[in-house]
Symmetry: C2
Subunit: 284 residues, 2 copies
């Protein structure tokens, strides 16, 4: 099953046995004071440079989240989407819990974007899916619902099935839904990663859809998070995850190493190119 | 299935769902000029310090290989085993292709050692297994035979079955055979790692035995071998490998991270202890 995304200059395909698609997560003011200030000041040059740095570091898609604490992101998201659309050529991933902001921004995106995200909650299914369908976008489906994130892989599979059914019912094909089985913090729950890895495998095998994962939640509160994140990504890709939302500067080389080991980089050319130019200095 | 090894002060168990057992590979003069010279000079203090450093860095077992180019290791291996046996408390892994050296050294080892290795070759099966049985040791079975290392996982499984059958026939139980499905260099063959990962999964599922792997062959000739080795080990442990022969100073933290992610380190205590004291400075 192939999930096709389009930017103004690049098409990206998420598919089994293809190299893992990297979504750059850094356009998100959470925990990034300087970016938060730049967004408040409408310092779009700062944001565009952040976009460029991520693409140079290996991002295939850019996540765009402009939610500032205590403020409505409706206007800002539309403004940024417009400016990014005439600057960055990769597909965008529109990331907001604000349905009004999503509805306003999505028609402004050029190409075919990804929407981050819908959940199994009735409110979310009702409001998000029709916006996605009307725009002809793809969407990330998070395996959580009114009761939160299930503690077992089987219930996460059931929520993924529900999201896919509801999407199909209004005309969104399964290939336009990327399921994110969610990873919690292993420091808080020793089975957190294990359950996610099982959910990846179960959902991939049962439903055949593409699988996205965040790479850094898992190590929250633990030392040397990079080593844990590298190990987790390797395990998750081994189980079938083929799209990762992460800081590309930190984890793209590991992702390319896993692709190489899984036979998706025949002459090690992508791995070696990333090693030679880890932050894309020559192209940025 | 549990493979139990004994040193003079430590017992080590290789078992599914248990933390991965680390075999320190550094007592091996191949590519280590200083160690080669120390062995020629009978500078045992140097070798014992190398043993201590590996244990401090997380080695549960010490591989002992004293094969110097162009010389017979029979006398040296027995000498070193005797000295190590009154110094190191962890189990030893006796590593020699020289059957006479193995036969001479094995009775001198205290506890219950591991023998590295037998293959599916008729000569090897005939000469090595009886020595292993007579000493009550455990043995690593390499999935290769007269025709070399098979290019597919199914033939590696067949060789593993053959080794186990021949071992059983002379009285070595399956739990005393650890199968090593062998990893070749991914730079030379893009399917090399994939075939090994499939063999790990196939052998683990079909035969239920414990699985050993070397961690560094896979990245030979490629840049940033550490990133590739970390990714490969994560994938391999995810498929069921539970014993790794490696440089503990380089890869133990990744191995502890994978154990943590797979729910084998409940309070992250082993991971955090290794992070705090990566080379065991406080205990060496």
């Amino acid at each position: 099953m192939e999930t096709m995304l389009k930017g103004t200059g690049h098409q990206v395909t998420i598919a089994p046995e293809s190299p893992v698609v990297v979504i750059g997560e850094k356009i998100n003011p959470t925990g990034q004071k300087r970016l938060a200030q730049a967004l408040r000041d409408r310092d779009m040059g700062y944001v565009l440079a952040l976009a460029d740095r991520q693409v140079s570091a290996g991002a295939d898609v850019l996540d765009v989240n402009v939610c500032l604490p205590g403020s409505d992101d409706t206007v800002l998201l539309s403004e940024l989407i417009t400016i990014l659309g005439s600057h960055a050529t990769v597909p965008l991933c529109i990331d907001t819990p604000n349905v009004r902001a999503l509805a306003g921004a999505l028609p402004l995106v050029r190409g075919k974007p990804l929407v981050n995200s819908v959940t199994g909650e009735e409110n979310s299914l009702k409001s998000v899916l029709s916006i996605v369908r009307d725009r002809g976008a793809a969407v990330i489906g998070l395996t959580m619902d009114e009761r939160g994130v299930p503690g077992d892989a089987e219930t996460r599979l059931a929520i993924a099935e529900k999201i896919l059914e509801r999407a199909a019912k209004i005309g969104i094909p399964a290939e336009d839904v990327v399921i994110d089985p969610l990873v919690m913090t292993v420091g808080a729950d020793p089975r957190a990663a294990l359950v996610t890895l099982r959910a990846v495998s179960l959902i991939r095998t049962s439903l055949g859809v593409n699988i996205n994962l965040g790479a850094s939640n898992v190590s929250f509160g633990l030392p040397d998070r990079q080593t844990i994140n590298q190990a987790f990504l390797s395990l998750a890709i081994g189980e079938g995850a083929n799209c990762v939302i992460t800081d590309p500067a930190k984890l793209t080389l590991t992702i390319r190493a896993v692709d190489l080991l899984l036979g998706r980089d025949e002459y090690a050319s992508r791995y070696i190119a990333r090693f030679r130019d880890p932050h894309g200095a020559a192209t940025s």
